[in-house]
């Protein structure tokens, strides 16, 4: 075989030269800009030659083609009787050029995004855009890429209609939260499915990133990809597009297509960015300075009714108590206390520790990637290496990533193509350790640390924060800087993805493809706290117990180290048989059937060591008292999860006269169904859709201004089944001690057996049109959708005689409806100056149609309201004693009247208590969208990208507590708006205790005291903390300059670009005082969203 191959190679040129040749010359230019396109491929199609030689199979490895030079010029020798050549270029439409009788041709290539013959990659199929019937959005990475951003998900903000991207935390490598068309599920995952070159990725669901979890380092498999390797991103939104992905696609699908080598000479491309991340503007937090803080504490000290809560905290209290001057101060004011006390208090005013400088920094980041690509007729290749290094604006945070990508495609036989892609990344994320207490989170600590609190004394020793309580009222020394120096929190992730493809054209119209995708992720999280850290001290303190009259600890003295090792792997094998038929160019039929097998495994190992010494790497044993201690201080634990899935699917598309397309798809998903009713083994999903290219109708052909018009409509049914519920009695195995000295196996049944479970069904309607006006100067694409999810599995209370409180039943129902509008306009289009605007806006309205809540639920049911509904107590200002008043049926009531409470008792039922809440809106924005302007002037380009959110309900973190304001902590200057007997113009309710106003308002106090009468914290549920927020964030301003090609030519460079970019330069928003960003409004734990300047260089050889 090898010999024959060699022989062929030797003989081939003769086959060709046996024919008469002629030479053609030409130039390849960009149709829209008229610019020459260097590096474009001009070639002869193999099959053309094969046909010409009449000896099929002899020519198969033959290659004939060239690439254009820096001026877009080419010269090509072709057989004399050949009339057609092809021209292709990355991100442009491939063009067939007739060269009959021509020696010089100018080939104009159109931007693929604008070409009608553009294809849409769904991950399963490649569909010509003209045949598209569903709601799909696509964006090219080149258009959205930002310098100094690690991951593609963070670049999607504002780019696409119906795709809402939120940054919940500004930490390096923090994933973005993406919602496609609102929230469909009430309890399950709401994250979209990510697909990499056809392989659905595992490990993309984000954990709950709310307050307590915000410092958790997350390894999303998206974050392992280098954005520079990505060609484009396609988002599948409606059921017709996603049905082929089955149940996992309920939240939409994001398909990533990576770059591949193009036929032609080798291209080397170097991308290099250097960024400076600005230190956040600490003044935005509006915190009190030392002067304000001392005044505030003196103010608090005055009121003896507030002595119940941490009244010994704060430097002022300590000084007053030290000199026993509190009574004197209360009697005669500041001037009447002893001179020593006055001096000490005044000294505090002159200390102003800048916590912003201690916690935040200006950081320097870099990002480099190098790619080598190219190809011949029979093979193409793409290799890239990337290095990314980010340091966070918060000191001690960062991320470093190394990427390697290899992609090759081989044409083994004339009709057989194989491809292999390998993606590898090694990522290290670094953060601070906050495990023990939330106040060790820098964002939170910077807000609460006293401005007069010093970090080190004159000898350089750490000064411990006296406001920190420790454990069980036992002081544990805490110093923020010491803590940072002696603790670490790292996550090292290794992501390996491989995709192998085989494409076999069995017959002209029949194609078999097979794809095997392998994904493995290994991540190791390590938390370390040295002996000199609050964390380690507290871990030890928690283990204290008394023995023979003495206190002893079962945790040894020393450091603490904890490791979480996670190994996830999956393989996904997909086979498809496609058949295409074209009858007289009138009937086009595309038929596909396929199957898919998937298997996932996940192993998690936790290990911990106490008394750890970083130098010697040794740990010490824990001397447990009993099994209980051992349970709460585990040293090793392991879990293993395995799942298997098998699916079958098929699609059928029929296009009539290139105008009308009908499309249908069916999929059945089967999964390992331990304990699940066999009748639910395969989940049927289907969708049907159609499109009408109205512009192709003769009666619209003549309307000049109408350049394109197409209508689309689709309906689809998706389903899901709860795998947690079984018709059988399924139990979990434990080992327990019922009597001393014996440990026995027990089986606990956690959910009742249920054989009445049905599919969760989501039916989606989608209708839309694509309109092009005035030679596509204006292009509009609109979609309307209605998505109704019924029989959603929800917890429903059952008779307790069943042994269980609730069971999963098909119960809840949710509707989402909305519209999306995408508008692209070419505002100015001259030879030297061009201006294009892309605008998108979308609106989603969700409604919970049916839901059941628990009897003892605190908040009202969301039934009839948005999925993310917010309920609060309606207030009506303050009374003359500074207490908050409530409003009910137009009446103004005190807290005790509103809650019908007397002397710490409330006689309302749970239901009546819920009735006191008022629905005040939703935390989902009314409108979201983006605005992108692109200007081109000669060699300069300027991109301005913005994302906006309109009318979103946000909650401010209450800046004080009405009965538990901690005078030992710093607060915002809003404290001066709190009502006090000295400041009766204050608008926020006064601080109270049971004895305020001589106990006469005891009942009101009891209501406001969390857990006393009301289970919830009434103060935090007041409507005063909510407001509507709208913002427009300028996410990127990017100025690019393309160096003149004449200059570059001398150095052998085909193109060079310099970019200057400013990320997140400013935000136009409703007042968000007290927080860094409108996105993280209300979160005192989130890190600020970084602002940066980037200098970038892009050179292609």
């Amino acid at each position: 075989m090898k010999k024959i191959g060699l022989l062929l190679l030797v003989l081939l040129p003769f086959c060709l030269f046996a024919q008469d040749l002629r030479e053609i010359k030409g130039k390849v230019i960009d149709k829209t800009t008229g610019e020459p396109l260097p590096g474009a491929s001009v070639y002869i199609d193999k099959s053309t030659i094969a046909a010409k030689t009449g000896e099929e199979g002899m020519i198969q490895s033959f290659s004939l083609g060239t690439t254009t030079d820096i001026d877009g010029q080419f010269t090509l020798k072709i057989p004399k009787d050949l009339h057609v050549v092809f021209c292709s270029f990355i991100s442009f439409e491939t063009k067939k050029v007739n060269v009959k009788g021509k020696n010089y041709v100018i080939i104009e290539l159109s931007d693929a995004a604008e070409a009608l013959s553009e294809v849409v990659v769904t991950g399963y199929q490649t569909i010509e855009k003209r045949k598209l019937t569903s709601s799909v959005a696509r964006v090219k990475t080149d258009n959205i890429i930002q310098g100094g951003v690690s991951s593609i998900d963070q670049m999607l903000g504002g780019q696409l209609a119906g795709v809402q991207t939120t940054t919940v935390n500004g930490a390096p490598g923090a994933p973005a939260k993406i919602r496609i068309r609102g929230t469909a599920s009430l309890s399950g995952s709401q994250d979209p499915l990510w697909v990499l070159d056809g392989m659905p990725l595992e490990g993309t669901d984000l954990p709950d990133m709310s307050e307590r979890n915000i410092d958790q380092l997350v390894n999303s498999s998206i974050a392992g990809l280098n954005p520079n390797d990505i060609e484009d991103i396609t988002i599948l939104k409606d059921a017709a597009a996603t049905a082929i992905y089955g149940a996992r696609a309920a939240n939409g699908v994001i398909v990533i297509t990576t770059k591949k080598g193009k036929k032609g000479k080798m291209t080397v491309s170097l991308n290099s960015n250097t960024s400076f991340v600005m230190k956040p503007d600490f003044d935005k937090l509006n915190l009190m300075n030392s002067d304000d803080k001392v005044d505030f504490e003196l103010g608090m000290a005055k009121w003896n009714d507030l002595d119940d809560y941490r009244s010994d905290k704060g430097a002022v209290s300590r000084i007053l108590n030290k000199y026993s001057q509190l009574d004197a101060y209360r009697a005669g004011g500041f001037s009447s206390i002893s001179q020593n006390a006055q001096n000490e208090i005044n000294a505090l005013r002159s200390i102003n520790t800048n916590w912003g400088d201690e916690l935040y920094q200006t950081a320097f980041n870099q990002d480099h990637s190098l790619s080598i690509s190219g190809g011949t007729d029979n093979a193409n290749y793409y290799f890239s290496a990337g290095y990314y290094d980010e340091n966070g604006a918060t000191i001690g945070t960062g991320m470093e990533r190394l990427n390697l990508t290899m992609k090759t495609d081989y044409q083994i036989l004339d009709n057989l193509n194989v491809g292999a892609s390998i993606y590898y990344s090694n990522k290290t994320q670094e953060s601070y350790l906050t495990g023990t207490d939330s106040f060790t989170n820098p964002s939170r600590y910077s807000r609460t640390a006293n401005p007069y609190q010093q970090i080190r004394d004159t000898e350089g020793n750490f000064i411990y924060d006296p406001e920190i309580d420790g454990y069980s009222a036992r002081n544990i020394p805490f110093n923020y800087i010491e803590e940072r120096e002696n603790t670490s929190n790292d996550l090292i992730s290794k992501n390996f993805n491989a995709v192998f493809d085989v494409k076999w054209n069995i017959l002209k119209n029949l194609k078999l493809t097979s794809q095997l995708g392998i994904q493995t992720t290994n991540s190791n999280a390590e938390q370390y706290a040295g002996i000199n850290s609050y964390y380690a001290r507290k871990e030890r303190e928690k283990s204290r117990y008394s023995k023979d009259g003495d206190f002893v600890y079962f945790v040894p003295e020393g450091g603490v180290i904890k490791n979480w090792n996670t190994q996830d792997s999956q393989w996904n094998w997909k086979n498809m048989l496609e058949y295409n038929l074209n009858i007289n160019n009138i009937h086009e039929i595309d038929f596909m059937v396929g199957n898919e097998l998937r298997h996932t495994e996940s192993t998690r190992i936790y290990s911990a060591g106490y008394g750890y010494d970083k130098q010697t790497l040794t740990t010490q044993p824990l001397i447990y008292r009993d099994a209980y201690d051992a349970k709460y201080y585990p040293l090793y634990s392991r879990s293993f999860l395995e799942n298997a899935y098998a699916s079958f699917f098929g699609t059928l598309a029929y296009t009539y006269n290139k105008k009308y397309t009908f499309f249908g798809s069916v999929r059945m998903d089967g999964s390992d169904l331990f304990g699940v009713d066999p009748k639910y083994k395969y989940l049927p999903l289907w969708a049907a859709s159609g499109s009408w290219r109205a512009k192709e109708e003769p009666w619209l052909q003549d309307i000049e201004f109408l350049s394109d018009l197409k209508f689309r409509a689709s309906y689809g049914l998706q389903g899901n089944i709860d795998k947690g519920t079984s018709p059988y009695l399924v139990g979990l195995v434990f080992y327990e001690s019922l009597l001393p000295n014996i440990n026995e196996k027990t089986i606990n049944i956690e959910t009742p057996p249920n054989n009445k479970l049905r599919w969760e069904k989501t039916a989606t309607w989608n209708g839309g049109f694509d309109l092009g006006l005035f030679k596509n100067i204006i292009r509009i694409s609109t979609d309307f959708y209605h998505r109704k999810s019924t029989d959603l599995i929800g917890l429903k209370a059952i008779q307790l005689e069943n042994g269980f409180l609730t069971t999963s039943l098909n119960w809840a129902s949710v509707t989402n409806k909305g519209f999306e509008l995408n508008l692209i306009t070419r505002n100015v289009y001259t030879e030297n100056f061009k201006w294009q605007t892309t605008f998108n806006i979308s609106k989603n309205i969700s409604n919970v149609d049916r839901i059941q809540i628990k009897n003892n639920e605190i908040y009202p049911s969301r039934e009839g309201h948005a999925v993310n509904a917010v309920f609060a107590y309606k207030t009506a200002g303050l009374d003359e004693q500074g207490y908050i008043q409530f409003e009910k049926d137009g009446e103004i009531l005190s807290a005790s009247e509103f809650f019908e409470s007397e002397w710490g008792m409330c006689n309302l039922t749970e239901e009546e208590r819920r009735g006191l809440f008022t629905y005040i809106g939703s935390t989902d924005p009314e409108f979201t969208g983006g605005l992108i302007n692109k200007f081109t002037y000669k060699n300069f380009t300027l991109n301005v990208s913005c994302a906006f959110n309109i009318n979103q309900l946000v909650k401010e973190q209450p800046f004080y507590g009405v009965e538990n304001t901690d005078r030992g902590m710093n607060h915002t200057i809003q404290m001066n708006q709190v009502w006090t007997p000295d400041n009766t113009s204050g608008t926020y309710p006064r601080m109270i205790s049971s004895s305020t106003e001589g106990y006469s308002r005891y009942s009101d106090y009891a209501i406001m005291s969390p857990g006393f009468v009301m289970q919830n914290d009434v103060f935090r549920d007041l409507d005063i903390w909510y407001k509507e927020m709208s913002y427009l964030r300028v996410s990127s301003i990017r100025l690019g300059y393309k160096l003149p090609s004449s200059l570059m030519k001398k150095w052998g460079i085909s193109s060079a670009k310099i970019n200057v970019e400013s990320r997140n330069p400013f935000v136009i928003a409703t007042n968000y005082d007290g927080y860094f960003d409108p996105e993280t409004y209300g979160s005192i734990y989130a890190q600020p969203i970084p602002k940066s300047f980037t200098l970038g260089l892009n050179i292609t050889f």
């Binding site: 089967g670 089986i747 005689e801 069943n802």
Partner: protein
């Protein structure tokens, strides 16, 4: 081309081959009970749940064994129970078990209905397992009916009690059965349990499981509550044939009789005096005064003086210590015999007195015993009945018996004070029946008409 054929064939095979094997993944740690081992583990879980219930501890708070230490933060969680306030209770008040009892029944019913099909064990093992399941179902229903329904007597037979659950069916609308029906079920389950029972006495380390001796003892207890004196006597006697041993407290290093491995502990299943109750209470004066503190060795075995407030006593037994689990002791059998023999028409008062004396000789210091024995010998039938009642209060103190005995012995008037206020539970007060927990009624309106 051959390779391509193979590819094509394998591809077609993929479409046709059954995926069932591929999808058959056995999850780690999850199990559908099928083997003997599984059902045993299911029963162990039921025993464990039974052991952790709080109802009997709370019923003691409702009874007269304790006074609440009002200065304790947890007092709030117990106050409404203590003063028999069942309406508009404090939100933090502890709730009597309901769902947990029925959760035990899920395991037990599944074992009874499916456990017989486990074929991987000896018939004896399976019979033993089924016997325990029947007995645990009877035991659970017996506790439920004594907490949430009126007592068993001729007038009450058709009164509504609790819903009986004997199978697993989420669609079933549970309605309350009558007292008669509930006791019929209990008796039938005990009989089936006794029929199948294999093990005479359990090894001490698995003494939480039912055995022949505890099954007979439990039958005696049930018939005592049904005032079936002869049956109670007979079952108690049968039990004593297997084990009649008592701990002799007069010996220097005698073990506490309530401990799981004492010679007289025949069922170490429950914690009837939980940590929370232990920390929030003192032993009531009534109970303390019932003892001769120096001569009755049980006093120092069960109680100790508070180090903070003199003359107040705290419980030494119970709590979270596994070794203090106790549901039945031979001492109870002696007391059952003493009572049943007295109350039976054909009863023998002398024999009855002998049973009580046999118990007391191991509980009282020798000289004091001699005086007590003489006094007992001199007692009339009526006085002796009172004496047995008092001895039950002392012997079975803080072990979950007193509230049931109060109900059984005429529902007397009780008085308590809290925060200076006096509260009374009148004689025959309807509050001698504990209302169904609010959550249970909310989820099943059939429970409303109590």
């Amino acid at each position: 081309m051959k390779k391509l054929n193979i590819l094509l064939v394998s591809f077609i095979c993929l479409f046709t081959v059954s995926c069932d094997d591929f999808l058959d993944v056995q999850p780690v740690g999850k199990v559908i009970p099928t083997t003997y081992d599984d059902f045993r583990a299911l029963m162990t879980n039921a025993y464990e749940t039974e052991g952790g219930l709080q109802s009997k501890s709370l019923a003691s708070i409702r009874g007269d064994e304790f006074t609440i230490n009002e200065s304790q933060g947890d007092a709030k969680e117990h106050k409404d129970i203590y003063i028999w306030n069942d309406i508009n209770q404090d939100l933090q008040v502890r709730v009597f078990d309901w769902q947990s009892y029925y959760k035990i029944l899920v395991n037990v019913n599944h074992t009874i209905n499916e456990g017989g099909e486990a074929t991987d064990a000896k018939a004896n093992d399976i019979n033993q397992l089924l016997a325990e399941a029947y007995l645990l179902r009877a035991y659970t229903n017996f506790d439920l009916v004594n907490l949430y329904a009126d007592i068993y007597n001729a007038d009450n037979l058709n009164k509504l009690a609790i819903p009986l659950a004997t199978e697993i069916d989420l669609e079933k609308d549970y309605k309350r059965n009558t007292i008669k029906e509930v006791y019929a079920q209990i008796n039938s389950d005990i009989n089936k349990g006794l029929e199948l029972m294999v093990v005479e006495k359990q090894d001490k380390n698995i003494n939480y499981r039912f055995s022949k001796v505890s099954a007979l003892g439990f039958a005696a207890r049930v018939y005592l509550f049904m005032s079936e004196w002869d049956l109670a006597s007979n079952y108690a006697k049968d039990a004593l044939v297997i084990n009649s041993e008592l701990v002799d407290l007069t010996l220097a290093d005698a073990q506490s009789p309530v401990e799981y491995n004492s010679v007289e502990n025949i069922l170490a299943m429950e914690r009837t005096f939980d940590n929370k109750v232990k920390s929030v209470t003192y032993i009531s004066d009534k109970l303390v005064d019932a003892f001769d503190k120096t001569n009755d060795i049980r006093f120092s075995t069960f109680f100790e003086e508070s180090k903070i407030i003199p003359d107040k006593y705290l419980g030494k037994i119970g709590g979270s210590d596994l070794k203090n689990k106790v549901s039945m002791r031979t001492a109870e059998l002696y007391l059952i015999l003493a009572e049943a023999q007295t109350k039976s028409v054909e009863g023998n008062l002398t024999e009855a007195k002998k049973y009580l004396k046999d118990l007391l000789i191991t509980r009282l210091k020798t000289t004091y015993y001699a005086a007590e024995a003489a006094a007992i010998d001199a007692m009339s039938k009526e006085d002796f009945i009172k004496k047995v009642e008092e001895e039950r209060m002392k012997e079975l103190a803080c072990q979950g018996f007193r509230w049931f005995d109060l109900r059984r012995n005429g529902k007397p008037e009780l008085k308590k004070t809290f925060d200076g206020k006096e509260y009374t539970l009148k004689a025959n007060d309807p509050r001698y029946v504990i209302p169904f927990p609010v959550e249970a009624v909310e989820n099943n309106p059939n429970l409303k008409n109590n």
